[in-house]
């Protein structure tokens, strides 16, 4: 890989050990993926934020970087943390966990990272443009930014995204290059997905089938952004989709000649939606995977207005969105009904299992997968109106 003079100096430690370490990581990745050079990025999203996922090993790593005086060079923000920093007691998060989580967040903060922990940064105004190079790590945000925004990122890991943030650079390979952004399979959607859960089930079914291929959807019309978000998130969870196209909707639509063609039928949609629904009587109902937009919070508030729920309810969102929800009065309605609007965390990365939850409901194909595998939950899957008033 070719380094510029400036990059070579960074690598040699002329600008400190933190930058040198970050460069060593990027150069090694560049070597592994045969990148020819490093390119500048406009923003980074760092994953590995929840104490539930990174544990003491991750915390020590971050504190090590802080000791080396690491500072980020570009706009950098975080994946959701294991709890809402302000409401962890209301969520019943154990105090020992909370202490470690705060240490992790403090380490990121002292590196100059923006304290926004969200998987849906595009809902709070972080929307890179078509062709812009970024280094994002949360898999659904990667799928959304590549596909719906037309920006360019590989699926970064925690350490590689942090190294990119510290240097402002990423190795030029994979989805940064034109030639790797062609769809290799066309999916003719014969089904009629309508709700968020429909798009979640569709993504979950197709992701497992497609693995790392790039799909191009035809025959989908007027899909709102929140449903594109769910579709991408689910495909990225059961497979490793990082880019998808939808004819007439996504800003780019590039398909390889000779791409395979398959149908996705209404029967497949209905049967997979049923397959995802394993549990009954949820202890906890979760909405907002990926993080809810203000519109989605409003929808929940409208359902709950004047009602009481028997189970716990978390509506997960970004801090900025929660602030708007507070102002609009949605948070109050949800709290009066017995739920919570929780910021900067989610059902996938909080310590649900430790907190004693056994059965959790969701309307997200991504959450359905990780609640079962990471959090050992029985999953109730369905449309908002079916799960939110579940008894």
């Amino acid at each position: 890989m070719q380094l510029t003079q400036e990059q070579q100096k960074m690598s040699d430690g002329e600008f400190g050990e933190a930058q040198a370490q970050a460069m060593r990581i990027l150069v090694a990745l560049g070597k592994i993926y045969k990148a020819e050079n490093l390119i500048s990025i406009s923003s980074a999203q760092v994953s590995g934020v929840s104490y539930e996922t990174i544990g003491d090993a991750g915390l020590e790593y971050l504190q090590d970087y802080v000791k080396k005086n690491a500072k980020v060079k570009v706009l950098t923000f975080l994946n959701p943390a294991g709890m809402d920093r302000d409401q962890w007691q209301k969520m019943s998060v154990p105090a020992v966990f909370a202490k470690k989580q705060i240490q992790i967040l403090d380490a990121f903060k002292s590196m100059g990272i923006t304290m926004s922990c969200t998987c849906a940064p595009y809902h709070i105004g972080i929307r890179p443009k078509v062709g812009e190079h970024i280094a994002w790590a949360e898999s659904s945000a990667v799928a959304f930014s590549n596909s719906v925004l037309g920006a360019r990122t590989n699926r970064e890991g925690g350490p590689s995204a942090l190294a990119a943030a510290i240097t402002g650079l990423t190795p030029n390979y994979g989805l940064h290059l034109d030639e790797n952004r062609f769809a290799d399979i066309i999916i003719n959607v014969k089904a009629k997905p309508k709700t968020t859960a429909d798009f979640g089930a569709m993504g979950s079914y197709l992701g497992a089938k497609l693995k790392a291929s790039i799909p191009a959807f035809t025959n989908l019309k007027q899909v709102p952004e929140i449903k594109l978000k769910t579709l991408g998130a689910s495909m990225a969870a059961t497979g490793s989709t990082a880019l998808f196209y939808i004819k007439g909707i996504t800003p780019e639509y590039k398909v390889n000649e000779g791409a395979e063609k398959i149908n996705f039928t209404q029967e497949e949609l209905i049967s997979h939606k049923k397959d995802l629904n394993i549990g009954e009587k949820p202890d906890l109902v979760t909405i907002g995977c990926p993080h809810a937009s203000l519109e989605e919070i409003k929808e929940v508030a409208q359902f709950l207005n004047g009602k009481k729920i028997a189970h716990k309810l978390w509506v997960c969102t970004a801090k900025k969105t929660k602030e708007l929800s507070d102002v609009q009065g949605f948070t109050k309605i949800i709290e009066t009904a017995g739920g919570l609007v929780v910021a900067d965390t989610c059902m996938v990365v909080s310590p649900l299992n430790q907190m004693g939850f056994k059965c959790t409901a969701c309307n997200s194909g991504k959450a359905a997968k990780y609640l079962a595998s990471l959090q050992k939950q029985k999953v109730v899957f369905g449309d908002i109106e079916d799960i939110i008033l579940a008894k």
Binding site: A28, I32, A57, E60, Y61, D64, G157, G158, P159
Partner: protein
């Protein structure tokens, strides 16, 4: 003395005894960060300690948090002193770099065919070279 060339992933020089794993390794959940002992059931290294060894395995697998576990091992003085992979992937590469463990991959000869457990070797990852004594 025989020299076998490879590709440097993480620089440094180390000398010690070979430990071979024919299976891929997940450091998260697979290796105890306090003892360096492999705790993954049905793994070819199960019950063995990787500390202080020139560890040879095909590649990493599992969670990216594995990189951080390698750093914990190093801080606990339980890390391998060098790593050779058939094909490096990001988890082990990043782990080796942040833990300052010399590492090479893509040897010109398959290491599984000419190395055995307990054999003394020197890994010169500055030059991308494995030296047999």
């Amino acid at each position: 003395m025989q020299k076998v060339k490879g590709r440097t992933i993480s620089p440094g020089v180390a000398e010690g005894e070979v430990l071979i794993s024919k299976d891929a390794i997940s450091f998260l959940g697979g290796i105890n960060p306090k003892t360096g002992v492999c705790e993954e059931p049905n793994h070819s290294l199960y019950g063995k300690c990787i500390s202080g060894k020139v560890l040879i395995f095909p590649q990493g697998k599992g969670s990216t948090v594995g990189s951080y576990v390698m750093l914990q091992l190093k801080k606990n003085n339980k890390a391998p002193i060098a790593i050779i992979n058939l094909d490096a992937e990001p988890i082990i590469a990043v782990g080796a770099i942040i833990s300052k463990i010399p590492m090479i991959d893509k040897l010109e000869k398959n290491p599984f065919t000419f190395l055995k457990d307990g054999q003394r070797v020197k890994l010169d990852a500055e030059k991308g070279m494995l030296i047999l004594q």
